[in-house]
Symmetry: none
Subunit: 195 residues, 4 copies
Amino acid sequence: MDLKSKIAEAAERVLLANGLAKTTTKEIARAAGCSEGSLYNHFKSKEDLFLHVLRGQLKNLMGALSKLQGLAGQETVRANLERVAFAALEDFGASMPLICSVFSEPGILLRLREGFAQRNEGPHRANEAVEAYLEREKQLGRIGEGTDPRAIADLLLGSCFQHAFQTNFLGREESEEDRDRFAKRVLDPLFAALA
Amino acid sequence: MDLKSKIAEAAERVLLANGLAKTTTKEIARAAGCSEGSLYNHFKSKEDLFLHVLRGQLKNLMGALSKLQGLAGQETVRANLERVAFAALEDFGASMPLICSVFSEPGILLRLREGFAQRNEGPHRANEAVEAYLEREKQLGRIGEGTDPRAIADLLLGSCFQHAFQTNFLGREESEEDRDRFAKRVLDPLFAALA
Amino acid sequence: MDLKSKIAEAAERVLLANGLAKTTTKEIARAAGCSEGSLYNHFKSKEDLFLHVLRGQLKNLMGALSKLQGLAGQETVRANLERVAFAALEDFGASMPLICSVFSEPGILLRLREGFAQRNEGPHRANEAVEAYLEREKQLGRIGEGTDPRAIADLLLGSCFQHAFQTNFLGREESEEDRDRFAKRVLDPLFAALA
Amino acid sequence: MDLKSKIAEAAERVLLANGLAKTTTKEIARAAGCSEGSLYNHFKSKEDLFLHVLRGQLKNLMGALSKLQGLAGQETVRANLERVAFAALEDFGASMPLICSVFSEPGILLRLREGFAQRNEGPHRANEAVEAYLEREKQLGRIGEGTDPRAIADLLLGSCFQHAFQTNFLGREESEEDRDRFAKRVLDPLFAALA
DNA sequence: AATGAATGAGGCTTCATTCAT
DNA sequence: GATGAATGAAGCCTCATTCAT
């Protein structure tokens, strides 16, 4: 693997461990096994390196949900949404500390936004993906005529997002079963609405 | 108003404007109209001052929801929940940048958690408040026997939380009508489930 | 003496000894007997400190010549011009290394120029001072009708300037007698022209 | 042209544009169209490269004046000295920024001096050249018996040198006519003395 | 209690130089 | 000879904290 990737991965590790404010170039270099100067052969500044890592995190977040498109009509809607909820809990949970950190540095936040605007990206795309999936299922007749796909998507992902936030915020360890239980619990009333 | 409160308010203002990482003691002092030295006559350290401010933010966040207890049985459930959703959107939105910032400083996050554990506080209390309200309404027979109050609370507050997050993250200005529309949209399917 | 002056003097010493390129904030602080951080309590940046010192050097340079105005009509023209030449040799010699150094940093040079333009200052003012003096003497009839004060001023100060430059450049030590001899030597033909 | 010359010329270009302090090896390499490493295949160090360029500049400075020797007795003295003054203004003006820059790096200045001492070179040789020319004219009886060739040389070149310095220092653009006018103006009183 | 100059640790970044390819 | 990524020393500057007034 080339040094640039090694640096990016090291930065991600250090950022998740130490937080954005307490992450120094010196420590990134040590974690990457190179000199501090080398960071600047591959990234223009510390801020640029952080942006690179953050964009990676946000892409991961989308990765799981982008596969949703093909699932419409397959298996059961319930099974599909359970998978969605589960993936969201996992992905949100993993990237929450970093994504949230960005609020502490308005300069970085601004640059992220600019990038989003140009490429039509951003965290809201996750909700749009679920919405699109549900729209398809509606066309296929597998969920009720009267359902509002966007509202369902927002409720489902929103509850997962907040759950991931609180889990991180309170420092709670969470098992797969915990996640599964949460996913099923919020899906129950949602399915009452989808009928 | 005494200097301690003036400092705390100044700190809050500067934190919300500049982000946790870029907020310096010098700037807080200027905003409070006092000297840097004075900060240390009222707070042991910059971190302590930040904790003071952050705890205040989290209390605000609970403020609106704590009144919920008395609303059970009054007006309609729908009206009450609309009020809840609206307050959540507003409060989450206002404190989001600061609350999230905390992830950039694990040291501060840790101390916040310790305080929570001792006093049984934390952001999850908001969801518990809504859950408790719904439990009452269930006992009063105003919502269906089969509803899971916790799940409904998580869905409602979760979607509001994520919405507030995304609005902040994308830097979108949002009008009262925008908020109202969002609140109503997510409540519709929820009420289908509550019947 | 306050720390600001101590820092400025220390900076001047170090600049003259080490050259503009090799002068570090660390060494200035050591020479001033304070911490590096203290430099920044009194000057916004290293560049600003340098500008402060350079402007001082240029003022010294003018100081000796500004007294010329009152000399018109006093003693003999020859004696006055000898004094001028001598002062020029001394002042040019002392500030040459620093003044010239400025060419190595276009940024600083630019800022110096801007200041000059605003306050009608600059090294050319020295020549203007001598010119003004000679103009007076011409009006008093102590030098020939046909003389061109500006040309005489440029010849006199120019030769002193170049002499000081070369002495510094070649690293030659120069005694008072050396300077005196040079001054007299160039004044001889000049006086042949003034008759 | 071989790479060594290309590098030297690129270095000269960059030095004149950016100043000695702000000229980096990276930029020289880019200007020369080669890699940074190549610089070190042809020069032992950055300092050596700079010395190479500086010696070239000082040689240029002598170039025009070395032809003076043959001019004695030709045309008129006035015409010859006008040519000298004009060449001096031009050459001094072109190399002033670089030559002066050297004061910002005592290490380089020292090494330049050593070279001068060994080869009897240096900026004072220009004055000696004019002096020698005038000496010849004196022997030929084209200038007055009583004239001091060295003094005239110092006055003439000195005034041109200072003029070039100030023009550079103040950042003034200067036309050929400006130069011509200045040369003639200082030569007038000088010729009154040569009679 | 209020001040604000002084501190010094530590952060980010630049840059001349080396060396394996 | 040519390359250019890697180096690491060193530079400038920021900032929370202290302390004498």
